[in-house]
Symmetry: C2
Subunit: 351 residues, 2 copies
């Protein structure tokens, strides 16, 4: 969030100067300044932000991993829901989730900010500050980007670059029939948060706080992704669009089918109580939990579960890849087949 001189966060809506008042070039200069960190950060940056482009030397033998993700006002967030720093944090974490899903270590990011001309410069600097704070916390550095006026909503587009040991990237197409499908953490909290923000649903304060935090302050599962890759897991993806959609992607890329077991889902514990039957849709299709799903071979599964570090998000077996096609749902392993719920889009606008 944007902090004032006293360090207090404040919502969108700061006064002048606006983007028009100071101009794009001056704003870009201020954003670069806000992104500057003390030298010797050890990220391998050869030419810093402020030149035409950044130059970065990959650690010897490592592979460079790249991704890009945009969040768009009105599609992914509303200004009323949040504050500038949180939007910046979220934009970075959403982009980093793709690096987590590859088992990569984040090193650099590039940020494009499109904003209406009357947006307060303080709000835009708040977005940049939130993004930079999240970057520092994950060991990556803002290496450049672009600024443009837009006659439309705020857009924060983040390209992320990371490294992974050669051949060790977690790929969607490395699953095999018989592999266990394993999920980190819990599912459905972000979808619950979205309902709190966009409907009249009312839940106790601790539940609301947890759900809103999952929706507004997601955290890429970077340590979990690297732990999977280091332990020899070859196949994983992130749960940006929900378990059903993301498992279908892994199964499709791997030339497999998949089944999921409803009773095994690590659903947020308060979801069934407050959402009723809709908890199934939220847990399977809500998306934006940004947990990881991996396909683990049967011979490695027991060792992986037994040796999983206690300080990481816990692993849970939720289904299996098989020789079929598409994704099927059962109540439990070997149980009866259940109808698939309607899959929610991750964008509230389309619901």
């Amino acid at each position: 969030m944007t902090t004032d001189a006293t360090g207090a966060r404040r919502p969108f809506g700061a006064g002048p100067p606006t983007l028009t008042d100071i101009g794009e070039a001056e704003l870009l200069r201020r954003l670069v300044e806000a992104a500057r960190v003390e030298p010797g950060g050890g990220t391998g940056l050869v030419v810093e932000s402020g030149d035409d482009a950044a130059v970065w030397r990959a650690p010897d033998g490592a592979e460079v991993v790249l991704s890009q993700d945009a969040i768009v006002e009105g599609e992914d967030f509303l200004r009323d829901w949040t504050d500038p720093e949180s939007v910046g944090e979220r934009a970075l974490q959403v982009a980093l989730s793709d690096l987590a899903a590859m088992g990569a270590l984040p090193r650099l990011c590039l940020v494009t900010l499109c904003a209406p001309a009357d947006t307060a410069a303080a709000d835009l600097l708040g977005i940049q500050r939130g993004l930079c704070a999240a970057a520092r916390a994950t060991g990556c550095r803002v290496a450049g980007g672009d600024v443009s006026a837009i006659a439309g909503p705020l857009v924060v587009d983040v390209a992320v670059v990371g490294v992974v040991a050669p051949g060790r990237a977690l790929r969607r197409d490395r699953g095999r029939p018989g592999d266990a499908l394993v999920v980190t953490g819990t599912l459905g909290g972000a979808a619950g948060g979205l309902r709190l923000l966009s409907t009249s649903l009312d839940v106790p304060a601790p539940v609301a706080e947890r759900w809103l935090s999952r929706q507004l302050h997601p955290l890429a599962r970077l340590a979990e992704g690297r732990a999977l890759a280091e332990r020899g897991v070859a196949c994983a993806g992130d749960l940006s669009d929900g378990l059903l959609v993301d498992v279908a992607r892994i199964a499709g890329a791997s030339g497999c089918g998949a089944e999921l077991w409803l009773d095994a889902l690590p659903c947020d514990p308060d979801l069934p109580r407050h959402l009723g039957a809709a908890w199934v849709e939220a847990a399977l299709g809500g998306g934006e939990d940004f947990e990881l799903v991996a396909a683990v071979s049967p011979e490695h599964l027991a060792g992986l579960l037994a040796g999983w570090p206690a300080d990481l998000r816990p692993l849970r077996v939720v289904g299996r890849l098989d020789g079929g096609r598409g994704v099927r749902l059962r109540g439990r392993e070997g149980g009866e087949a259940l109808p698939l719920p309607a899959v929610l889009s991750r964008h509230f606008r389309q619901r």
Copy 2:
């Protein structure tokens, strides 16, 4: 431009299906498919588009160069001016211009496309096709990206990644007092094109064609940037925002002042005739020519000019870095000081 089955280009405005009809996930799938090239393209891509992120191994010893640039409908282009493929081409070339300004060889790009929900999918695929064709022509590959609906204008945001020999990147902060300022090609054509598109200015057809081409189909000066770097030049930038602004950036980063000589500018030959006195603003401040400006030490200048390959955009000395501050304008070297023209923004909206 978008081509129909017969290969003819057509303007924006294709019929259904729209982004809403097919959904973002399906559109992203089609965009990835449109970006797919035959395997073994030799770009060092280890994991292709379609996974969570791309993995790319830099050629041994090379440095990775990264940049990101967005073009926004209503700010950088209007749909009426152009066609989908040209928007894609332009988005890539504008981003690549930053790599040209570093002397880098482009290898990969990431593309984020934000479009109103009622945009024809064919228009979006046209943008992607134009971008991919331009990528192929410059030896770089579309390695991923994102798609989002937006309740606003089209946004095409492109992150580019390239390589440069270690220590050989052309940097803004490597100029020294006494260095000659050298420009590639001609200036002001893109600004002339913008006036044709946004005012009632009328010029002969061959002039209009040349100016519109500079505005709508810019080409990053990649070969020129590499030629400068290979010949030992250390300091350069691209002319995205116009000579005055971009020379001020180089002078500021290098801790120098600069003077420019009006009579020496390689101005588009038809600019003075058709723009009257405004040609000075167009040539110095118009921007979007995407030529390069370099600072060259006096001892290297004669050799650089004499040995410059004839198939590249010609070099022209336009001024000098000095020990002063800021940028000053003279009629010619040693001539009287002239007032600086009002600098135009690169965005027509703000004029």
